[in-house]
């Protein structure tokens, strides 16, 4: 019988396809390492540009509001052209940093350790950042910005996740988170919540005050039973949630149109709504709140490390730090920044006691962060999974 030449050719094609897949998969998985590299010893010449990944309102060059600009002065001084991208959740930031496209990132406490562990950010030599000296000591060398005494960045500012309400619908100013939990049915369909697994901690903060028998000490260290209670609370809340937000513009619009009337928010959102004349107000409820403490970090494969160091120094300067943190609505990290803004007291800047009452976003890990050793805590992977189930 004659051998069919087509079969042989087909075999070769299949072989080739398999080979190319093998090559591609090898390329796809061998990137990334465990170590974040070494901190820079000294600075060189400016590269002329720097790309920055940050929360909305952190890198303003006057294009949103001509009066809000701390980028232009940096560009003039250093010659580093700034290119910036904003993100909506810490998870998004962690994921975007894996692309290696950014030199600098402003990360919250629930992202920093993950970035360090994945080797996406490098240690920072704070001796090369003159303005680091002015940063509050109670923000330096913390578990969310340093590992083994080695600093991974410059603290930026800190603040709390607040409760926002529409003053026309929620006529009695709320003082408790119960308007989005136990009393959520009163505003059914118009409650909003932050669309990230870390929001489970907000429920835990509420349970700390209202169900003390659960014994929650830290909303990021939940054992199986405590975690389940928080998840159940959120599943109940889900029936009344109109929509979840992670894009801050979406929340601004929803509060303007009245599609959302009560829910969690940031001060910067209230600032925008206020400037547009919307009838909304914010409050820090009596149970306390979750919050963030952000750190400027440098990518481990930064293409422009010198401009990156220059940016870290610039944003830690009293003027820039004051402008950026005041615009976002958070306390500054630089003591001298309060000379450049008037509302420092409202944010309790420099008040280490107050700062310790905010539950800063931290990545939950199996080893309980509250120091318990007799139980295992629920880790962030399980939080993510539970979050999807809560949304259903």
């Amino acid at each position: 019988m004659k051998r069919n030449p087509l079969t042989a050719r087909r075999g070769a094609t299949v072989g080739l396809a398999i080979a190319s897949i093998a090559v591609l998969t090898a390329c796809g998985t061998q990137s990334g390492g465990t170590g974040g590299g070494e901190a820079a010893e000294e600075l060189g010449e400016m590269e002329g540009q720097v790309s920055i990944l940050a929360w909305p309102g952190y890198v303003e060059d006057g294009s949103n509001d001509p009066a809000v600009d701390w980028v232009s002065s940096f560009e003039e001084e250093t010659g580093c052209e700034v290119e910036s991208k904003t993100y909506g959740t810490s998870d998004e930031a962690v994921n975007l940093m894996k692309s290696g496209d950014y030199d600098v990132v402003a990360a919250s406490g629930d992202a920093t350790l993950r970035l360090i562990a994945a080797g996406d950010v490098a240690p920072v030599n704070t001796d090369l950042i003159p303005n680091y000296d002015g940063i509050y000591d109670f923000l330096k060398d913390k578990e969310w910005n340093s590992v083994d005494g080695e600093s991974y960045g410059v603290p930026h500012g800190y603040g709390a996740n607040l409760l926002m309400y529409n003053t026309e619908v929620v006529t009695e100013a709320p003082t408790s988170w119960d308007v989005v939990f136990d009393r959520a049915s009163e505003f059914s369909g118009k409650v909003t919540a932050y669309d990230s697994p870390i929001y489970i901690a907000d429920a835990a903060v509420y349970l700390m005050a209202h169900q003390p028998e659960l014994g929650i000490e830290n909303p990021y260290a939940l054992d199986e039973e405590q975690f389940q209670a928080a998840v159940d609370l959120l599943k109940e809340q889900r029936q009344h949630v109109g929509e979840y937000w992670s894009d801050y513009l979406k929340e601004i619009q929803a509060f303007q149109t009245g599609d959302s009337v009560v829910g969690t928010t940031w001060q910067v959102i209230q600032n925008v709504l206020e400037s547009e004349g919307a009838s909304t107000a914010v409050v820090l409820p009596e149970e306390g709140a979750t919050g963030w403490s952000d750190t400027w970090m440098i990518s481990s494969d930064a293409a422009n490390p010198n401009c990156a160091y220059a940016w870290l120094n610039h944003i830690a300067s009293p003027e820039a730090n004051a402008a950026a943190t005041s615009y976002f609505g958070e306390a500054p990290s630089n003591d001298a920044a309060c000379e450049f803004r008037e509302d420092c007291e409202a944010y309790h800047a420099g008040d280490a006691d107050y700062a310790s009452q905010i539950w800063y976003w931290t990545t939950p890990i199996a080893e309980c962060v509250d120091g318990r050793t007799d139980v295992e805590c629920v880790d962030y992977a399980a939080w993510t999974e539970a979050w999807q189930e809560i949304k259903g």
Binding site: I21, N95, K98, P197, E243, D379, T384, W387, K391
Partner: protein, 304 residues
Amino acid sequence: MTTNAPTRHPLPARRADFGRKGSAFLATHPRARLALLLTAPLFWLVVVYIVALVLLLITAFWSVDSFTGQVRTEWTLDNIIKVLTGSLYQTVTLRTIGVALAVTIIDVLLALPIAFYMAKVATPRMQRILVIMVLTPLWASYLVKAYAWRSVLSQDGILEWLVSPFGGHTPGYGLPATIITLSYLWLPYVILPIYAGLERVPDSLLEASADLGGRTWPTIRHVVFPLVLPAIIAGTIFSFSLSLGDYITVNIVGGASQMLGNLVYTNVGAANNLPLASAIALIPIVIIFGYLFLVRRTGALDNL
């Protein structure tokens, strides 16, 4: 003339000679011709499309390190089992199929009369205008249209303003809003194949049916419908598969609801669990393949 050419103009003639030799070679070697023609597009198809899909399939059998977020390349069936047995994935799959079916039904019901009018009733001038009108929305960005519906469906949007005098209310953000928006977005993709199918139905058949005493409905049921059925199914393939994979519209107008696309998105984005996302992405692929397999015999695939 041609025999003298080399001596008089040696250089250009030489080039012409190359070209002629080349074309002579290609004329007598059809396989080489085919290879030259298809190498680039086939390379594109295989590397960018098929390899990407196969990689997706392979990734579904890996897992991810929960703390560092690195993909671990050890074979495991965990993701597939989780997606098949988890109640979350079953609920969301059913919801997604429900939305896709509702969108498809609404689109077919809207497209049939429009396409019939365009193909059989309108004057040639009107016909051209209608085709342009159907195509015009495709010139606007998908996001612009979805956000437009977000403001239309909002509590103080135009829909509420229109229906509130009659005691009605906007559905607000949620699954109904998602179905409305998706139906709007995919309508042109359903009208066009049905219109093309109806154009191919000869008018003489309609006249013959009338001559034989067939009224409007029997004519449509027994003459027109069987002839355009493949075209209708071709249209449903578009609306069904596009709805099945959508996650942006539901994010914008869907309120708190999730569809399969959102689960893929959160697993890639928020959870950084590419293997699980790949496993979830296999669900719509399987559904679409099943659907295509079912409609293969109707001849709808020739109408795409």
